[in-house]
Symmetry: C2
Subunit: 405 residues, 2 copies
């Protein structure tokens, strides 16, 4: 065995702060405060408020255990036709698996914000993240909401205060922005692996002051989510609370550049989540091409990413073509593996139904990178898709096995 202790150390990525945050989006104010929900005393209530009723689209978890805030958001967005004044967020407690009391608590959070803003409770959205199966400490939450309201500000610091208050097990803050012509897209998110005791994982908030066609936002956001947040595979465990919100403060004729800026922002945020998988040392993009459809391509990539054997090989910088291609053969979306080509970091390791005579040491060295590309080319059609996955190392086991005992 090599030095195991050394292998438990995983350097974090080197990040530069985003030039714009949610607080820089025209028409938005943000805040984050310490309400005492988290035992650590870290910030745990966040508020994002628009100056007027704005357009909001959202994508939520497909887990049948949808948390109370998700149920309330779906209801509110339905009632308002996709408009809102504010989003209130707490971390430290996911308000999931909390039954009717949890649903009432989510409604109270919206009503409290609505009262402060003088709007309808339906015009307030809510998100929670943290432990599941425990009721929210509502006195602390409600005091936190009042404090966050008093703190509302615009500008980069306000956006970062919001971001700080939505984090749970994140190893680093996750933010991204893309500039446009007189407008911006800015986003923040939280999410790493699901660490005991039962963290609900992913929340993302993206906002823009670009002129947008409000009617097209929900479909655009769903499409963008497919290639970003829904492409992240950390541990095949979509959570009860996963939510992605898009806030647009201005209506108008949508610029083509906006879709691209939104896509790039969401992809960057998704990368940051994959990179923060417990003990992850890199992000691997599993790119499947030549599938029968784009959906099939992503499903095949997900099948490959689900394999603990594949993910440990990625951790070990092992160009293990057998694990990669045999998992393609197990995907039910694949009807023929004839002609399959597999490349690792651009190096062809499998073609013509057999491994190539590639240089293992060279391929292994190429895999010791912050970004790894694993390409799997089928010959069934023109479907293509990416999945982003973290690797699986000792620290993953340590973090996930040794919580309670």
């Amino acid at each position: 065995m090599t030095d195991l202790a050394a292998r438990l150390h995983h350097p974090l990525p080197v990040l530069t702060p985003a030039t714009k945050t949610l607080g820089d989006i025209e028409g938005l104010r943000a805040s984050g405060v310490r309400a005492g929900i988290k035992a650590s005393g870290n910030p745990d209530v966040a508020l994002l408020v628009a100056d007027s009723l704005i357009d909001v689209a959202a994508v939520f978890t497909q887990n049948k255990f949808a948390a109370a805030p998700v149920l309330v958001c779906r209801e509110h967005l339905q009632k308002t036709g996709g408009r809102a004044r504010a989003i209130v967020v707490n971390s430290g407690n996911a308000n999931a698996c909390t039954g009717d009391e949890g649903l009432q608590n989510a409604r109270i959070m919206c009503a409290d914000v609505a009262e402060l803003l003088g709007c309808s409770p339906d015009e307030v959205l809510v998100a929670s993240t943290g432990v599941i199966g425990v009721q929210l400490p509502m006195e602390k939450v409600r005091a936190g909401i009042r404090a966050a309201f008093a703190e509302l500000q615009s500008g980069p610091e306000a956006g970062r205060a919001f971001l700080a208050a939505i984090q749970t097990t994140d190893a680093y803050p996750k933010e991204a922005c893309e500039p446009g012509d007189g407008w911006s897209v800015a986003g923040v998110c939280k999410g790493a692996g699901m660490i005991a005791p039962n963290m609900a994982t992913m929340l993302a908030f993206v906002a823009t002051d670009a002129p947008v066609d409000a009617g097209g936002l929900p479909a655009l956001l769903r499409d963008v989510a497919v290639g970003s947040f829904n492409a992240v595979h950390v541990d095949s465990h979509p959570s009860t609370n996963d939510s992605l919100f898009l806030l647009a403060t201005r209506r108008g004729t949508q610029e083509k550049a906006f879709s691209n800026a939104l896509r790039d922002t969401c992809r960057r945020l998704a990368w940051l989540i994959a990179r923060d998988g417990e003990g992850a040392t890199k992000v691997t993009t599993i790119r499947v091409t030549g599938a029968s459809s784009n959906e099939a391509a992503q499903a095949i990539g997900r099948r490959v990413a689900e394999s603990a054997l594949v993910r440990t090989a990625l951790f070990g910088n092992d160009p293990n073509w057998g694990r990669f291609v045999s998992q393609v053969g197990n995907a039910k979306e694949v009807t023929s593996v004839a002609g399959l080509v597999c490349k690792v970091q651009g190096i062809t390791v499998f073609e013509n139904e057999a491994p190539t005579r590639f240089d293992r040491a060279e391929a292994s060295k190429a895999m010791a990178a912050e970004d790894v590309l694993l390409e799997l080319a089928l010959t069934e059609g023109s479907g293509a898709g990416d999945i982003l996955t973290s690797d699986l190392g000792y620290r993953y086991v340590e973090v996930n096995a040794e919580y309670t005992t």
Copy 2:
């Protein structure tokens, strides 16, 4: 961090040898020899020969990358209508991803045995296990076949020589038997996790001298496989070579007790494979009930077993109800999680949409066992099914990440 080195140590199960082996089945002779295919010098060619043409049923991998021996067996069983004189096996090389040359080599193995026996090559079956993507060293294989033929014997030692020669990364020999009234079912298998460099995983050989209804064997074996070998989830990676053979040396009116003996034998062999997952400390039976169908129940159980989060929790003896139930919510075979009850070792940890007030320390202690039962009861129908899974600990990462680098 606790003492990681100590946690890399995983005691193996305490096993008692089976009272009967393949060599004890009336009408069968077996052998195993060292042919030099394995660099280790361990036995690597095995032969199982019937005194006359007997009934054989088989279940093979569903991976689209089926290895050459699997393709040849399917063809031969088709031609003979499920009859054979012999099975020849090699370990050390899976003859998978080897193209036309590999197919020819599998045919040569059958032809060599046929010539020695004086039968048709179609009446010989073949299985291989070991590294993939490398051609068989045919001179060694053919010399090994001649040596194995010369060594054919009946009795327990012959059966164990066969078993020794089919093993690859197995930490212990895997055998099981069930006695009947004047007959027996005896079986052996090989299989653990898929260790680099690309081991093809599971081979099982079960034989009986019970009087059987030959026509019903294929359907019976498929059914038995569902509840045994197909219920094993070690790392969601069915291999190119997985094969299960059932040899029946006598025809007659099938006794009801035979099906049960076959089922028990296969279940025991499947348990032995799950227990030999790399670094596994236990076997967890994930029992899903109340699903819409038996197939749905197993699919849901498999979804739970696929989660690295679930398997690390099992390793850590962590009664992590959130991971268990949320993964049920992610299974596409589930339409409603209302009424879901989750029990760990008989202790109810989740019901009425919320965790119970169970004693975590007590539940954790109960999970520190060789056999763990995780029950997930839905209320959608009467479908039920078990999945057997190994847990995921440090040693799994060590074995799977640190092979080449």
